[in-house]
Symmetry: C2
Subunit: 214 residues, 2 copies
DNA sequence: GGAGAAATTATACACTTGCATAATTACTGG
DNA sequence: CCAGTAATTATGCAAGTGTATAATTTCTCC
């Protein structure tokens, strides 16, 4: 019954780093950044804690890497479905759909956002990542609205476009938040439908037609 | 230069508890629930840590008390301006205004919401408090929309009312979120104006007139 | 103004935390 | 197949954590 030293297998740096990052995201979503301890992360990744120091020079660095990984994932997930195909109106609709469908709308995604918020507002590097991602979303949405309005023969001045994009962004964010906070409160597809209708009402464009493609 | 024992003054249980709760909320907003240590809270309240145990049987209990205090405050702040006066349309407008004005829209308020999210989803007592508050807001909003539509001679069926209230709640939540996350990105009054316009567009009611009162 | 009680401070303890470093193990190249 | 190297594990440490308890101080009431 002598305590045996743990057997292990050498893995590539990339796969180990990714495994550590994924374990970190799991724990951060469950218990927050401080609750995601080095020991807990190591256990979740089936590794001993010393290994983390071998790949990341501090917990801080691991957290930052995990945050950037998550933000990139979110961006990819949002823009996956619609691509840049079709009319501006169709692209706008695809943007709404992508933003209001799992895995973007998800309790874990919301929990991660909430858990990172503190650190994001204090750490300059994380703040930069956040603002870059946020600006990307907003600009993209504003472009789509602009194009869709021009397409409909109703171009809008910049100030108006700003208001419309803030409002549409707010609906999407709000539905994202509620869908993540109360996942059982909505039928499948309900958030997407409400999102489409609301954006349509705000910009005064019909987003329901041409919907047979997906 | 002998170390002197700290002088102190006896205070009422109520004021001490409130001071401890306020100090807790400050620290939770800054560093999250785990970052708000018993020692940190005591220091912020200008008290030694042992006193906390005298008023709260555990840190957990203090956190729960602080959360309930905050939620009550949010409710009061939201419903303070509009009261239950005037037409349904005016009351709906007041609801939007109250939800999108400081101190409801505020970085600290958002940070508190985010910091508590984890615990809220796990602790049954906090979960109950959250759901009660959320349901209160949503029901109130749905009633207002229902009344405003009937007032305008355009009553809506329950399913439609549900969609409208979810959508309006989402715009308000989204603007609340963005206003708290990026306080310098919006002019004073801009969020309220966008919120009014968006709710107006969604429910198809003019919310700008009769606005001279505030 | 002094005794009793309650509020408050001070101290102690066991446990967790992030980080550092030493000891081992698995793989690679010859 | 064997040495060298880097990945991985194991161990240790100082600081911080919540909580328990003892020591003091302030206030109230007679």
């Amino acid at each position: 019954m002598s305590e045996e030293r743990k057997k292990f297998k050498r893995e590539s740096a990339e796969s180990r780093q990714e495994a550590l990052i994924l374990a970190t995201l799991e724990l951060v979503a469950e218990k927050g950044v401080r609750g995601a301890t080095v020991r807990g992360i190591a256990e979740r990744a089936d590794v001993t804690q010393g290994l983390i120091r071998h790949y990341f020079s501090s917990k801080e660095e691991l957290i930052v890497a995990a945050y950037e990984h998550h933000m990139n994932q979110m961006t990819d997930d949002t823009f996956a479905p619609g691509a840049a195909e079709g009319t501006a109106r169709a692209r706008l609709r695809a943007f709404v759909d992508g933003s209001l469908t799992p895995p973007v709308v998800d309790p874990r995604s919301l929990a991660l956002w909430a858990s990172f918020l503190n650190k994001v507002q204090q750490d300059p590097q994380m703040k930069a990542t956040h603002e870059r991602t946020y600006a990307y979303f907003r600009d993209r949405l504003e472009e789509l609205i602009k194009a869709a309005l021009e397409e409909a023969g109703r171009p809008a001045p910049p100030a108006r476009l700003r208001q419309l994009s803030i409002a549409c962004n707010a609906v999407i964010d709000g539905l994202w938040l509620e869908g993540g906070a109360l996942p059982d409160a909505f039928e499948p597809g309900e958030l997407v439908e409400i999102g489409r209708q609301s954006v349509a009402a705000i910009v005064e464009l019909d987003l329901t037609q041409e919907a047979g493609k997906t």
